[in-house]
């Protein structure tokens, strides 16, 4: 079962319907015991950062969230659920969950409308370590620039194969690079460790739109509102959960 955390920050119905549509077994809950029992966690949310943190505190959900992440359960943060993973936010000068070291900042460029609302593209990144190893062979680089095709990489050295098949890329399986996703947010995350960035999006500046750190995935956009491409991402998540 995938637990969708209900902490009073927005409508969770579309997230749950979208996960069900791609075969997920879901439960919307704010009960720590149910969350502990879940195989994976989806952490959605819209609204203000500080209010979200105070709701999580009031519902006593902070300990169980840290716990499931430490237990390496698959975890997917969506929109505000992406931002809450950071150390702190400019929105209300508030501390977050500190799972991703870094800061959440407000879009602040002359002439740029806020919120960033609508469909924008996610450009995939490859990791530096992968690039460094892949340098040995141009052919290998070429293949790894297209991470969603990583399953085609038979014949590569074992180490490369295992890197290419890490969940970081699996979450983007079957999704073409530069696909459009639906965004609505006024703040963006800036992680200290750039290696956690799996995809970026441009709006006044290049900001991370997909983050992967071990078992933790986070997306700034709304996959549940991003039609087929968004459903594909959720399907990838459900498949990862099924395999564990």
């Amino acid at each position: 079962m995938i637990a969708i955390i209900d902490y009073g920050m927005g409508n969770l119905r579309s997230v749950s319907k979208a996960l069900e549509k791609v075969g997920g077994k879901v439960e919307i809950t704010a009960d720590s015991e149910r969350i502990r029992k879940a195989e994976a966690i989806v952490f959605p949310g819209v609204g203000a950062f500080s209010r979200a943190m105070s709701n999580l505190t009031d519902l006593n959900l902070l300990p169980v969230l840290s716990e499931v992440i430490q237990l390496k359960k698959y975890f997917l943060g969506i929109c505000l659920g992406f931002q809450l993973l950071f150390t702190e936010s400019e929105e209300g000068n508030c501390k977050g969950l500190n799972i991703i070291k870094g800061k959440v900042k407000r879009f602040n460029f002359p002439g740029l409308k806020v919120p960033h609302m609508g469909w924008n593209q996610a450009e995939f990144k490859t990791t530096k370590s992968l690039r460094a190893i892949a340098k040995q062979s141009d052919e290998v680089v070429a293949r790894h620039e297209v991470p969603w095709q990583s399953q085609k990489s038979e014949g590569l050295p074992h180490l490369l194969c295992s890197l290419a098949m890490t969940p970081k890329f699996k979450i983007l399986n079957g999704i073409p690079n530069n696909s459009y996703f639906y965004f609505v947010h006024s703040y963006y995350g800036e992680p200290e460790d750039k290696k956690v960035i799996a995809a970026t999006t441009f709006y006044g500046l290049e900001f991370p739109s997909v983050i992967c750190k071990e078992n933790v995935f986070a997306v700034q956009f709304h996959p549940e509102k991003s039609q087929k491409i968004g459903l594909q991402l959720l399907k990838n998540f459900v498949k990862l959960v099924e395999k564990c």
């Binding site: 409508n11 409308k113 806020v114 919120p115 609508g118 469909w119 441009f202 509102k225 087929k228 968004g230």
Partner: protein, 252 residues
Amino acid sequence: MLAKRIIPCLDVKDKRVVKGIHFLNLRDAGNPVENATFYSQAGADEIVFLDITATIEKRKAILNIVAKTAEQVFIPLTVGGGIKNLEDIRMLLKSGADKVSINTSAVKNPELIRQASETFGSQCIVVAIDAKRIQNSSWQVYINSGRTPTNLDVIAWAKEVEKLGAGEILLTSMDRDGTKKGYDIPLLRIVSETVNIPVIASGGAGNPEHLYQAFAEGKADAVLAASIFHYGEFSLKETKEFLQKKGIEMRF
């Protein structure tokens, strides 16, 4: 790049679409869920339901429609019409709407915009403004589906709703609505350049060129369009291809 959005609008009355798709082999052309599903698959970037049902009892029907649509349509859904208070908004969002559009109630009780955006987040509060030109570069706000004039100036009201926490403005030109002569470009441009939140153009679209003008000259972030798609004169796909060729960023 952030794509410009095309948003088909469906008028819903007593569980049925009264202004909707007329050209397809839908099992039931009046079914709102089928209409929304069709547009979603055809490439719509969002869907708007405008509830024009008169009575309170029948308004419950829209909640059911929204819930069914949200099970099948995985793009943003906005619902407008007859929203009076926080409870109306709460029920719509709970049923699966992503945003609500408030018009008359926002004018009568501007605090509703603040309360709603604080409670549910600015991102889901769209303020709809019906604008009528009174002279060059001056427009008046109308309410009650365009029947009642107010003493509000459109530009001043747009600034005010932004300040109160609206996430987006749906701007309808009453002079152009239904004329198919194109959007009121000076109105659009001045509002879009005045506020720092997205503006959706509405009223007057007759062909894809009008949509182009709304984006290129009117600086709109999105366009609402009804009849140009409902009657099959233009498909969403060909409209998007036309706009893309003219340099407007589109999602395919």
